[in-house]
């Protein structure tokens, strides 16, 4: 019997492609964000509000992942930014190869911001690097405030938590302070914004975070 040391990541092939993507994003000065949540937490609604608030000629594109249907891409196309649907056909997460494939016919030099909406799932997407600069996790107030404790990986790995559907707070037994506390237990210092895509409440904070992230990214890229 011989024991051969392997000492490499299980997803090393995905990580390799993700590193290539990250280098390309860096080369073109693109900020890439990977949006992750359970199904129905409001990722697409947040993207609708985001695209609506951005200037019409902004250099922004969206990749949106689902197991089936082109519904999300159709919802997002009306803002006249480049949008492409990734249908995974059963896979519960996006991987780096899917991103690479779907970027193939876009000119990266025309973009500054790439928003990726992952498949609705709090588990597997957290394992697959897509070459993003940051993950953003969305948690709606119709879910439990203990979600960060139940799914620590994604809350730990995300830079920002978007607490969504806050217009429903008067009608649901969701303690937003406990949710914030739980998120910061898993990820001390985590940035958090609270939004309602229906009333527009808190969207200003989200857009400010996004603008600041783009500004910092640009400065870093220029410096390198």
């Amino acid at each position: 019997m011989e024991r051969v040391p392997l000492e490499r990541k299980v997803l090393s092939e995905n990580d390799r492609v993700a590193a290539e993507l990250r280098a390309r994003f860096q080369e073109h000065g693109i900020l890439c964000l990977n949006l992750i949540s359970s199904p129905g937490s409001g990722k697409t609604s947040l993207l609708e509000c985001t695209l609506e608030a951005l200037p019409p000629r902004d250099r922004v594109a969206v990749l949106t992942g689902d197991i089936q249907t082109e519904n999300d891409a159709n919802r997002l196309k009306r803002f006249h930014f480049p949008v492409k649907q990734i249908t995974t056909g059963g896979t519960c997460h996006l991987d780096a190869r899917m991103i690479e494939r779907h970027l193939a016919d876009w000119r990266l030099e025309d973009l500054d911001l790439l928003l990726i909406e992952n498949v609705g799932n709090l588990v597997c997407p957290s394992s697959y690097d897509l070459g993003e600069a940051a993950k953003v996790v969305v948690l709606s107030v119709t879910e439990g405030e203990d979600k960060p404790l139940k799914y620590p990986s994604i809350f730990f790995k995300s830079d920002l938590l978007v607490l969504s559907k806050i217009d429903l707070l008067p009608y649901v037994p969701f303690d937003i302070e406990v949710a914030v506390e739980n998120a910061r237990k898993v990820h001390p210092g985590m940035e958090i914004v609270k939004v309602s895509c229906l009333t527009g409440n808190g969207l200003h904070e989200w857009m400010t975070w996004l603008r600041e992230r783009r500004r910092v990214h640009k400065t870093l890229v220029q410096a390198s």
Binding site: E2, R3, E13, N14, S127, P152
Partner: protein, 123 residues
């Protein structure tokens, strides 16, 4: 299932470097922050090796706890119940140094004919 497939692919790639042997056991390290359910991984792994030449391959899982390092005093410690306070100096300025592993650790291979138990005859 994707993870199980990646483990198996890595085993097959590695085996091409060791002619005349068969794999007995593959060791993987999974951090508690890696979002991998051990039972689910084991279930998927067993499902994909069933009735293949690797049917007797054993999956050994080592679970790695979340570890933090204290910035002020430098102490490394295991984080339990999300309490990331340093047990030595009580500082909250601690950073995560491990716990999200999803790594292939080792592969145990046996030469054909070296043991009375063959690759396919164990099942």
């Amino acid at each position: 299932m994707g993870i199980a497939n990646s483990v198996l692919e890595a085993v097959r790639t590695e085996m091409s470097l060791h002619p005349g042997t068969y794999p007995c056991k593959v060791g993987v390290r999974i951090g508690e922050l890696a979002a991998i359910d051990q039972d689910a991984l084991r279930f998927c792994f067993e499902a994909i090796i069933r009735e293949t030449d690797l049917e007797s391959l054993e999956l050994a899982i080592e679970v790695c706890p979340r570890r933090h390092r204290c910035q002020p005093c430098g102490r490394d410690f295991v984080v339990r119940d999300y309490d990331s306070r340093c047990p030595q100096c009580a500082s909250l300025e601690t950073t995560c140094i491990s716990g999200d592993e999803l790594e292939l650790a080792y592969l145990e291979v046996e030469e054909y004919g070296a043991s009375t138990v063959g690759a396919k005859s164990t099942q």
